[in-house]
Amino acid sequence: MTRSPSLRLRVALASALSATVVVVLVGVLASALLAREQTERLDRSLVNGSPAVLGSFASTRADLAVTLRGPTGTVRRVSGPELPLSPIGIPTSVTVGGVDYRIRTAPGPTPGSLVTMGATEDDTRARVAERQRLVAGVGVAAIALAAGLGWLFAGRAVRPMRGLTAQAATLDRTPDTTPQIRADGSRESEELAEALSAMLARLHAEQERSTASLHAARDFAAAARHELRTPLTAMRTDLEVLRAHPDLPERDAVLDDVLRAQGRVEATLTALGQLAAGDLPDADGGDVVGVTDLLRLAAEDARRAHPALEVVVDDPDTCVPESVRGALEGLRMALANAVVNAVRHGRARCVRLGAHRGDGGGVVVTVDDDGTGLPVEEREAVLGRFVRGSTAGGPGSGLGLALVAQQAARHGGRVRLEEAPAGGLRVSLALGPDRAG
């Protein structure tokens, strides 16, 4: 992989380039001005004067030349090479005998005569060139300086970036805590660090959530396997007994046990399926469920499932909302589980279904029994999955009340286990106030 040049180098090159543009512009301007100024100086030296004075002056200077012309155009006096005629009063550049001259022609001392005075441009050009070299030298130095300073300052400016890189490189080694990224030094880097920190925090939270749910799923799977193995052990043992002893007198009892174990496996599988389904979010807001209808349906379910059980339905108070939004099947299943719990573990002979208004609005559906109740300290724990109370009678999956709790949570409420008026256990299924209506 070829890498792009570093930011630092780019900044150094950019400052060198900008400096070059400035230096070239200034340099070109300066040399032009310099050349003009020098030429003007030269032109000013081509002053008017009497040919005699000029001639004697010029004769002392090798760079000067004077040519005097009579009215007829004849050359009368010359110092240095003969200069050509030029328009009067206007300095002109000419070449005489291979040497560049700056000449100026003026009217002479006698009428009709003309004096042309010239000065070689060599000296001037040499001076200009020398100064241009100086300007160029300063310019190159300025460019180098700009590049160097660019490199230096860019180094400081990219330091937060390097810090960021180093921090990002070491991130995966500390997965336990939410990583904090800092890159003080420039607003952009601070903003970048903040954005990165926020992103990492989101990722970290997401990761923790998925790790937690992974652990929960694993624990749940282990508990489910454990839960299924117990009845399967009994079943297998019974079946082996039946095979080894075909004429067993207690054959029917063994078969009953096999069937009961099979029923346990089935019940656990059903409960597991209901739990899994209850974990899915509702696709829509749910049905409108009439509270009276719900109680009536739950009572019918209870009478069908437990023929020996006395089931009483209290009419809801008038202040109870007539209906709730929710999943009818889920609520029915939750109430059925509460009834099973009362019968199986509370050994109840009578259950009483009712509904009243919750403290914060909403509906509280209650299932009271006249059974043995549950010790106060276990009332929270038995809502957990695969947890059985110490007074549990008969085999159970340990999921019944967990399913009730799940349905309550699904309907924005919660489950409370309390003392029932009749002495047994009251299961209160509170539905969220926003579900009323």
Binding site: A222, R225, H226, T233, A234, T237, D238
Partner: protein, 236 residues
């Protein structure tokens, strides 16, 4: 043949499992008592020591491991086969480390449990009265010294504390030093399982013995011979 019916104690908190196992084991020729929790199991042992214990690991409150530890602490060396409803290695390891003799994962074959219990009982009956070694016999292999009369093991100057089953495994390996023993042979010699059985109990116990022998950095003495079995010898 008027051998007394061997008596088992079945400990499981699940009534269905207890009923089925009691019936199955009774019909297989054992007398069976049962208990549904740890304290009940210890009470039953205190009342009358059974010939073997079938113990569920996942008991509420005092769990199976605690029961095994308590039994061994009270110097009961009755064979214990633990039952686990979890299949993770940790669970298997922990029950055996506390001094159980074998484990089975639920659900298991009753015939397999019966065969193993019979083998453990036979061995228990045979090994108990006969310390079949001359007094003072010591097996030494490298830094390892096994004193058969005192039932002590030393590596160099360090005494190594082994459970009964670990000690028996080490004695068999030490008596056969330099000889490679297959897992089947070890199952037969140490556990008395002279039938084909699917278990990795040998590997688990070899692991325990190694860990205890090598605790202070002693070079490996019990070597795995890949695809064959195990051998005790000094050096590679």
């Amino acid at each position: 043949m008027s051998e007394p019916t061997p008596e088992l104690l079945v400990v499981d908190d699940d009534a269905d499992v207890r009923t089925s196992l009691e019936r199955g084991l009774r019909l297989s020729g054992f007398a069976v008592r049962s208990a549904q929790d740890g304290p009940g199991a210890l009470r039953a042992v205190h009342e009358r020591v059974p010939d073997a214990v079938v113990l569920d690991l996942g008991l509420p409150g005092m769990d199976g491991v605690a029961v095994v530890s308590a039994l061994r602490a009270m110097d009961h060396d009755v064979p214990v086969c633990v039952l686990s409803a979890r299949d993770t290695v940790d669970d298997r390891v922990v029950g055996l480390e506390a001094g159980a003799d074998d484990y089975m994962v639920k659900p298991f074959a009753l015939t397999e449990l019966v065969a193993r219990l019979r083998a453990l009982l036979r061995r228990g009956a045979r090994a108990a009265p006969a310390p079949a070694t001359a007094l003072g016999e010591v097996i030494a292999v490298g830094p390892l010294r096994v004193d058969l009369a005192r039932r002590t093991v030393h590596v160099g100057e360090r005494a190594v504390d082994l459970t009964k089953r670990e000690y028996e495994l080490l004695v068999v390996l030490a008596r056969n030093a330099e000889v490679v023993l297959t897992r089947e042979r070890l199952l037969e010699l140490v556990w008395g399982y002279d039938f084909a059985t699917d278990t990795n109990v040998v590997d688990v116990f070899v692991g325990y013995v190694r860990r205890k022998l090598e605790a202070d950095g002693t070079p490996r003495l019990v070597h795995t011979v890949r695809g064959v079995g195990f051998v005790l010898r000094e050096g590679g």
